[in-house]
């Protein structure tokens, strides 16, 4: 099929940026979206045009590196699918596809379609962990965890940290990302001792970089791993509770 790409080109944070149009003839329907971009880049290189910078790595939907705004939708039209797993059989001859980077204040621009998502790591560094020195853990089966609880924690833990939730949000909020990491840890018995400090530290750090959540729900629709909005409710509830919990009594429950 023959396609036309409208691609955001911006050499760096100092550049204003603009859309450029590139023809993409002879694209096969079984290619992945990123393989299509590879081909366009090879052709650009041979034509003397600097190739389009875009983030990608594992190309199997798990590393969270890729992330393109495709025709106004983070990761494109397929539900529950990261950009790298989108395939060209979605498109038809003659289509024009618009490709942009994630746009959010919390994600400063680097080049073309690449943005800086390191604010996510700052949030995790603030409290998105369970403290365990290597070698100090008790036997893995010492604390049984109900299967449903482990599965629910896993639903949250499936987050790949791609940033689609932020890109989709009209407020540029990171609530779904933070809620996923927070819930993963705080739903497990091992995550209880640091639960209240985690809620406060992660949310406060998030507020420093990102906008505030107003329950639009765009994030859930954009999430390539179908992370549920319910986790945001859980995070918000725990954040408020953390404000009056007396942590000296937390060992009682």
């Amino acid at each position: 099929m023959d396609l036309t790409l409208r691609v955001w080109r911006q050499s760096g944070p100092g550049d204003k940026g603009r859309f450029e149009e590139y023809p993409a003839p002879g694209i096969a329907s079984h290619m992945s979206f990123l393989e299509m971009l590879d081909i366009v880049n090879e052709r650009l290189t041979l034509a003397g045009v600097e190739p389009i910078a875009f983030d990608h790595d594992c190309r199997e939907g798990i590393c969270g590196t890729c992330g393109l705004m495709i025709d106004g939708r983070p990761h494109g039209p397929w539900e529950g699918t990261a950009t790298c797993q989108l395939h060209m059989r979605e498109y038809h001859d003659g289509d024009t596809i618009t490709i942009e980077p994630w746009r959010a204040k919390g994600f400063p621009h680097i080049k073309d379609l690449v943005v800086d998502r390191r604010a996510f790591d700052r949030i995790v560094e603030a409290g998105g962990y369970i403290t365990v020195s290597a070698g100090s853990a008790p036997d893995a089966n010492l604390i049984p965890i109900p299967k449903e609880a482990a599965e629910y924690a896993m639903d949250a833990a499936a987050c790949i940290g791609c940033g689609a939730c932020v890109a989709a949000c009209p407020n540029g909020a990171a609530q779904l990302f933070v809620a996923a990491k927070y819930s993963h840890l705080s739903l497990l018995p091992q995550g209880q001792p640091e639960r209240w400090s985690r809620a406060e530290a992660m949310v406060d750090t998030m507020e420093h970089y990102f906008g505030s959540c107003s329950n639009h729900g765009e994030c859930e629709a954009a999430c390539p791993k179908n992370i549920s909005l319910d986790f945001i409710a859980l995070l918000n509830r725990d954040y408020i509770r953390a404000k009056w919990k007396n942590r000296r009594l937390a060992g009682q429950s």
Partner: protein, 638 residues
């Protein structure tokens, strides 16, 4: 050069305890005086950096990713082994050790493998305490499944995302240390050289991928945990950025490279669809627990799978290996698939796959159970191929996946350059000629959490009072100049072909001659074809842009330079090793049934190669392997 693996004295089950007791310690108040560099933040690197940081050392961690959570450890699907024997099947540390040595076709170092099995249980404890949501039974206890090459269920898993969950565990541990200030983190920063002063590792040279700035960092020790080199084949299951540069540059600075030809071709990947394919996607080996592998008994049978009656199908693994059936080790399953496809029995449009069929399992267990076990893998398959594996059998074919070879290390995981440690897939030590499924995650975390923190401390203890070599030292200045020159030449070549074109051409040579079946003739041909292609690359590659901002073509070009040199060494090692063992299959050396035929009299050793300069023959040093606990035997999975 003489290689001393420094294997501790004593019976095998006491060696690690003996070594830990003999290693010197660094008192807590002295630890902050030591600088440690960790390159790579996958399972091994993140675990090591987090543990050493928490212990009090001053750690600098480097990754070329934007975040430490992106390392390719994250893509491991199936699981992680441990000798817990939670299900009373007769498993034990000794059995895990035995299976791993046997699975590696008797080409690994016994003492290292035993230690790996020994710490496997602690890894599971550590991960559960960190919040890794492993699969559980209704009673709340941990569940296990089976993997190839074992007759017990010892694999712990988190859906089809075990690597992701384990990496997030070590990523969080590292993030904690970064937040506490004990680890200084450098993201989007790629290591391009090791600096050696007076024969010892003194630091590294790195490039900032956003600004192009080239800088150097010095330390008392350098740990490389930079993964494997399957991308030498171009198409592999590795992530696009996985590369050999860190270990190859260390090799050029004096670290011996062990068994480069020991590469693993994973049996269950989605077959390539055409030339533009950029990578191959793995379908977890765990699928072989319930999926049955087959092709038509008749070559050239192009009917749809449903039209091929039961009696016309050849379940070739079940037929050839009744005891292990579809769960034979990876090397055996891969070669068996190649045999039937070469016979013209391949399936799919390009006739380049075999079926992995769940019809029987769905009939026996119900669709719900299969969905719960493999749902996300089935979805992934459907997204890529457009076919529904609940109704049509999957098509699979082997693809380069893991490299057992790597930098030679002693028992303490130190390379032949003192002060340079190597962990995870980047070293060669634990998997011999073939890695068993669910053992890579185990090794990465074992090295990072439970081995390096002891052995690195033991090494540092001898350096108390020494300052790191300053980065103004002439060796650092020269290394920076060399890196600048290397990149500069790429930018001015302005030839007529792209970096990817060269990488693809190299990959074709490698998979053809150094892939699943290797012959002396083919390997000689590859060794004749690679150097001219490499020269053409330097002359005719086109890298646009500059070195002042992000330049992804330049990054790739730098990595491909090193793949060219490594590829030659892989072929040379494959040609040298006149035997078949594990993933290394020389067609000249096989049993009448087509199984790998080892030559223990001449090749029960590690082949460690030394760099002798560009265009010069590499030197060979041997480490003889001694098997005191496991008797050498022909592997049989029948």
């Amino acid at each position: 050069m003489q290689l001393n693996a420094r294997i501790p004295e004593g019976p095998i089950q006491d060696k690690w305890a003996n070594r830990r007791f003999d290693l010197k310690l660094v008192a807590p108040h002295n630890r902050r005086r030591f600088e440690v560099i960790v390159v790579g933040t996958g399972l091994a690197g993140a675990a090591a950096a987090a543990t050493l940081g928490a212990a009090g050392y001053h750690v600098k961690a480097f990754t070329y990713h934007d975040s430490t959570r992106r390392a390719h450890s994250i893509a491991a699907q199936g699981g992680i082994n441990a000798a817990k024997d939670y299900h009373g099947e007769g498993d034990s540390i000794y059995r895990l050790f035995y299976d791993t040595v046997k699975g590696g076709d008797y080409r690994s170092r016994e003492a290292n493998v035993y230690r790996l099995a020994e710490v496997s249980n602690e890894i599971i404890d550590q991960c559960v305490a960190q919040g890794v949501p492993f699969a559980r039974e209704y009673g709340g206890l941990l569940h296990n499944r089976s993997f190839g090459g074992a007759q017990v269920s010892r694999t712990f898993y988190a859906r089809g995302q075990t690597g992701q969950q384990l990496l997030l565990g070590s990523y969080q541990a590292l993030a904690r240390e970064v937040g506490q200030g004990t680890v200084e983190l450098f993201t989007h920063t790629e290591m391009l050289d090791v600096v050696v002063v007076d024969g010892r590792a003194a630091g590294i040279v790195v490039r900032d991928l956003e600004t192009g700035a080239i800088t150097s960092h010095s330390a008392h020790v350098v740990i490389l945990a930079t993964g494997g080199y399957s991308n030498a084949f171009y198409l592999s299951t590795n992530a696009m950025a996985c590369n050999t540069t860190a270990i190859w540059r260390a090799h050029r600075k004096g670290a011996l490279f062990a068994n480069p030809a020991f590469t693993q071709i994973h049996p269950t990947c989605i077959p390539a669809s055409d030339e533009t394919q950029s990578k191959l996607t793995l379908m977890s080996e765990s699928l072989r627990n319930d999926g049955r592998i087959w092709v038509s008994k008749t070559a050239g049978d192009h009917r749809a799978p449903a039209e091929i009656a039961e009696g016309e199908r050849d379940y070739y693994l079940e037929r050839r290996y009744p005891a292990y059936g579809n769960l034979t080790p990876r090397d055996v399953a891969s070669r068996a698939a190649k045999v039937v496809v070469d016979e013209g029995k391949g399936v799919g449009e390009l006739r380049n796959g075999v079926y992995l069929d769940f019809e029987e399992a769905i009939g026996r267990l119900g669709r719900d159970v299969i969905e719960a076990r493999y749902g996300n893998l089935f979805e992934m398959y459907e997204r890529i191929t457009g076919e529904d594996p609940y109704r049509v059998p999957m098509r699979i074919y082997p693809a380069p996946h893991y490299t057992m070879g790597g930098l030679w290390v002693d028992y303490d995981l130190m390379s032949t350059i003192p002060g340079l440690f190597v962990a995870g897939e980047a070293n060669f030590s634990d998997h011999g000629a073939n890695r068993l499924g669910a053992s890579a995650l185990m090794q990465g975390l074992a090295d990072g959490y439970f081995v390096l923190p002891y052995t690195v401390a033991g090494h540092l203890a001898g350096m108390l009072g020494e300052a790191p070599v300053p980065t103004t030292h002439p060796a650092f200045v020269a290394a920076v100049a060399e890196v600048e020159d290397r990149l500069g030449r790429l930018l001015v070549a302005n030839g007529s072909r792209t970096v990817d074109w060269f990488h693809r051409e190299l990959g074709k040579i490698m998979i053809e001659h150094c892939g699943m079946a290797r012959s002396a003739e083919g390997l000689r041909q590859a060794l004749a074809e690679i150097p001219p292609l490499r020269e053409e690359f330097h002359r005719d590659v086109r890298v646009l842009g500059d070195n002042e901002s992000m330049n992804q073509s330049l990054e790739r070009a730098g990595r491909v330079i090193d793949f060219f040199e490594l590829a030659e060494l892989m072929c040379r090692d494959a040609l040298y090793r006149e035997e078949s063992c594990g993933g290394h299959f020389r067609v000249e050396h096989q049993t009448p049934e087509g199984e790998a035929l080892r030559n223990d009299d001449d090749f029960a050793h590690v082949a460690a190669w030394g760099w002798e300069g560009e265009g010069a023959e590499p030197s060979l040093t041997k480490e003889e392997l001694e098997f005191e606990s496991v008797a050498l035997a022909q592997r049989s999975y029948k």
